[in-house]
């Protein structure tokens, strides 16, 4: 169905975030309102994939103007339709408001979150209905596949990708062109193309623009001479799986997938392989084991998987975002792609903004954009007026970088130099309330649990390192623990086969490198400066502030608080489990609960009447 230009479209985001906020119902409600208003002929309501600004979800966009509505609820549907299409003025209260100026910004292209982005891989995300192939075709979809099949030799495709400077988006950053060339030259048949869609950002693209992935896989298959592809996605990602299945069906109907694609000799089809929940399977060789139906464990190289991958046959494994970039490179040329980004890292980076950041969501920026611009200009900085403390890039095994690293450009080399990784593109921001020792322990425990157990330094080293850090967080650390941790990290990096073991120590090493004073406070002073580590903190009820309301005592899960009406309440330190419930429940107007580390607070031993409490203010 071709849409005439005079038509309006209402795009309702149905990415994972918005869908969890019942955006499917909003879609129905809007469609109902449009129908009731007799506007169905000129206005189309359309479900899209993730538009990235998840923090403001559920989001609704009116095209062609690009009016951006945030936090839309089902009950807003009638007012939204009336205001936008009957009165012809945007509905002010649902527009995005600049947090600083409090002014409404009606168009999404004017919102800093979007205006500072450069959306290539996400070009269609949130703009098209992922369940309609016509939408993808209308935006130039599959022209690249047609071009390579009709007018390019495989080696031409490979050299174009090589010239573009495209590097793997999955983490390692290996040259995609070089990998394809090796797979092309490898002996053996059939050959396989495998798409790794393990990360949150991959899932979003798969849900929002599945055809771009499919087209990228088909071009890769044409280039290396593969006839079968697999897309590896977690079985939990139901929506992504459903939409990709639909996309494949539609593509097969139009002869864009299957036998003799577009009448050529090139045949290629794809199977979905459902991952069973093992983080190590993000590692290419472990992933291939998983597709074969084995425990996902990395193998010794050589042979490389391009020579002997799935079932011992040549296999080219690329990240989903790498593959989704390929159709653009073919369409617009290698020179155009190479003009974006930095010397060593071309193109764009898709980043998942998470943690203590105002604008949670998914963004895309040119490689080389500084972390500061990403976190503060696009991400909106730290919520609740807190101070920035650290940012972890690349996932749980990325390094934790301090404020002094904020002017680093986001690219493979700069992040590696600072002790972190590009990794999956995750950007997890930590604020002043984060304890870097505790954070390092958390990330390391994650890797310990996910270690496949094949390499001894990873299997045995990680639990020991977690134990040592555990000692430090409970006030039993020794000064020599730091050098021991560094030494173990080095062994782990040298003695592990795959990326998991090689990168797992990153958060520990960077945390010690940039936040050494915090580690020393734990070890030497038995104090947690961020007031996080449970064994090193205490909660006290201040007698001059407590009004004896009893909320804390009723909420305490450990029954550690005693008191009574108009009595100053007292926490029994031997019973306290440091859950902080009292701190949260104490009414803000009293703020009588104080959390401290390494200092004693003078409080009564038994409940005393309020008046008798010291110096009532």
């Amino acid at each position: 169905m071709a849409q005439s230009n005079s038509k309006h479209q209402i795009l309702v985001c149905q990415g994972t975030g918005c869908e969890a906020s019942k955006s499917a119902k909003i879609n129905q409600a809007l469609a109902g309102e449009i129908k009731n208003a007799g506007l169905s002929d000129t206005i189309q309501v359309k479900a899209t994939g993730c538009h990235g600004f998840c923090q403001q979800g559920p989001t609704v966009i009116i095209e062609p103007e690009g009016i951006f509505y945030t936090g839309v609820k089902v009950e807003d549907a009638s007012e939204l339709v009336k205001s936008s299409f009957v009165e012809n003025k945007p509905l002010e209260r649902l527009l995005y408001h600049d947090p600083a100026t409090k002014k409404a910004i009606p168009l999404y292209k004017d919102i800093p979150f979007y205006s500072l982005q450069h959306r290539l891989i996400l070009r269609n995300c949130g703009e098209i209905n992922p369940e309609e192939i016509a939408d993808y075709l209308a935006r130039g979809g599959y022209t690249a596949l047609k071009k390579v099949i009709s007018s390019m030799e495989p080696m031409q495709v490979i050299s174009e990708v090589q010239r573009s400077g495209l590097r793997g988006r999955g983490g390692a950053g290996f040259s995609t062109g070089k990998k394809w060339e090796a797979a092309y030259k490898a002996k053996g048949s059939p050959k396989y193309v495998v798409c790794n869609a393990g990360a949150f950002m991959d899932r979003s693209v798969m849900e929002a623009d599945p055809h771009s992935v499919l087209e990228g896989m088909a071009i890769a298959a044409y280039a290396i001479g593969a006839s079968q592809g697999y897309i590896y996605v977690l079985s939990d990602y139901h929506l992504a799986v459903k939409r990709f299945n639909l996309a494949m069906e539609e593509a097969r109907k139009r002869n864009l997938l299957g036998k003799n694609i577009l009448g050529s000799k090139f045949s290629f089809d794809i199977d979905i392989s459902l991952g069973a929940g093992a983080w190590v399977c993000g590692e290419a060789r472990a992933l291939l084991c998983s597709i074969e139906g084995k425990r996902g464990m990395p193998r010794v190289r050589p042979p490389l998987s391009v020579d002997a991958g799935l079932w011992g046959l040549p296999t080219c494994t690329n990240n989903l975002r790498t593959l989704a970039s390929v159709p653009l490179i073919i369409d617009k040329g290698a020179d155009w792609f190479a003009s974006i980004g930095t010397e060593g890292s071309k193109g764009t980076a898709v980043l998942g903004l998470t943690g203590k950041i105002v604008n949670n969501g998914m963004v895309e920026v040119p490689m080389g954009t500084t972390l500061r611009k990403v976190i503060f200009d696009i991400g909106g900085g730290i919520p609740e007026g807190k101070r920035f403390k650290a940012v972890q890039t690349g996932g749980p095994s990325g390094g934790c970088l301090p404020e002094s690293a904020l002017d680093l450009p986001v690219d493979f080399e700069a992040l590696a130099k600072a002790g972190s990784i590009m990794g999956s593109g995750a950007i997890a921001v930590m604020d002043e309330d984060t304890c870097m020792v505790n954070a390092a322990q958390g990330f390391l425990s994650f890797c310990r649990d996910e270690s496949c157990g094949k390499c001894v330094p990873c299997r045995e080293g990680l639990p020991l390192m977690v134990e040592i850090i555990g000692r430090i967080t409970t006030g039993k650390g020794k000064p020599e623990d730091l050098s021991r941790l560094i030494e173990m990290s080095e062994t782990l990096m040298q003695g592990s086969l795959c990326g998991l073991g090689k990168t797992a120590p990153n958060p520990v090493l960077t945390s010690i490198r940039y936040f050494r004073d915090e580690w020393e406070a734990h070890i030497n002073e038995k104090r947690c400066p961020a007031l996080v580590c449970k064994e090193l903190i205490n909660f006290y009820i201040l007698p001059d502030k407590c009004q004896g309301c009893g909320i804390c005592a009723r909420s305490c899960p450990a029954d550690a608080i005693t008191g009574g009406k108009r009595m100053v309440h007292v926490i029994d330190q031997s019973k306290c489990i440091k859950c902080a419930t009292c701190l949260e429940k104490c009414p803000p107007k009293f703020s009588a609960v104080k959390k401290v580390s390494g200092e004693a607070v003078e409080v009564p031993k038994e409940p005393v009447p309020i008046a008798a409490g010291a110096a009532t203010k």
Partner: protein, 163 residues
């Protein structure tokens, strides 16, 4: 009560379409777990037969991946995400809250078989962190209060007349 022969028959029915397929082991295990809720020993033997491997190997694979369970679980499976986005946003405290509310630890099932509690690596809902899943439903932007309110209140020994 499901008998051993039932389990074998149901397993064979579910995995029959995968006969002869390369790499059938994981899809077969996933299909059987979907049907039975977990992988009983007899089912693992049947699956092994189909995939041409011993039940040992099936068990090895089952215990390797987080998705598979070798014991029956509660009607509602709570999976608390501990990916890095969620842990930065306090998933650990969410987990503790639920452990307290249900009086079980991670990996356990309530005596009434209503809830099972587990943690998962990443459910891909990082923008809604901290997040968890109860069966297929994703619940995000959790607070300890919100997590507590999802479950029936334990009868408190005293001061139960809040509000």
């Amino acid at each position: 009560m499901v008998t051993e022969t039932d389990v074998r028959k149901q397993t064979r029915d579910v995995i029959a379409p995968l006969q002869g397929r390369r790499g059938a082991l994981l899809p077969a295990m996933q299909a059987v777990q979907q049907k039975l809720g977990y992988l009983p020993l007899e089912a693992m033997e049947e699956i092994g037969e189909l995939a041409g491997v011993s039940a040992n190997v099936v068990y090895g694979v089952a215990t390797f991946y987080a998705q598979f369970r070798t014991k029956p679980v509660g009607r509602r499976m709570i999976a608390v995400c501990r990916g890095n986005a969620c842990s930065v946003r306090g998933s650990e405290r969410i987990l503790e809250t639920i452990e307290r509310a249900l009086n079980i630890k991670v990996g356990e099932t309530t005596p009434d078989r209503e809830y099972s509690l587990e943690t998962v690596a990443c459910i891909g809902a990082c923008s809604m962190a901290p997040a968890m899943k109860i069966n297929e439903e994703t619940i995000g932007k959790l607070t300890t209060k919100a997590a507590e309110d999802l479950f029936p209140k334990k009868a408190k020994q005293e001061g139960a007349s809040e509000k």
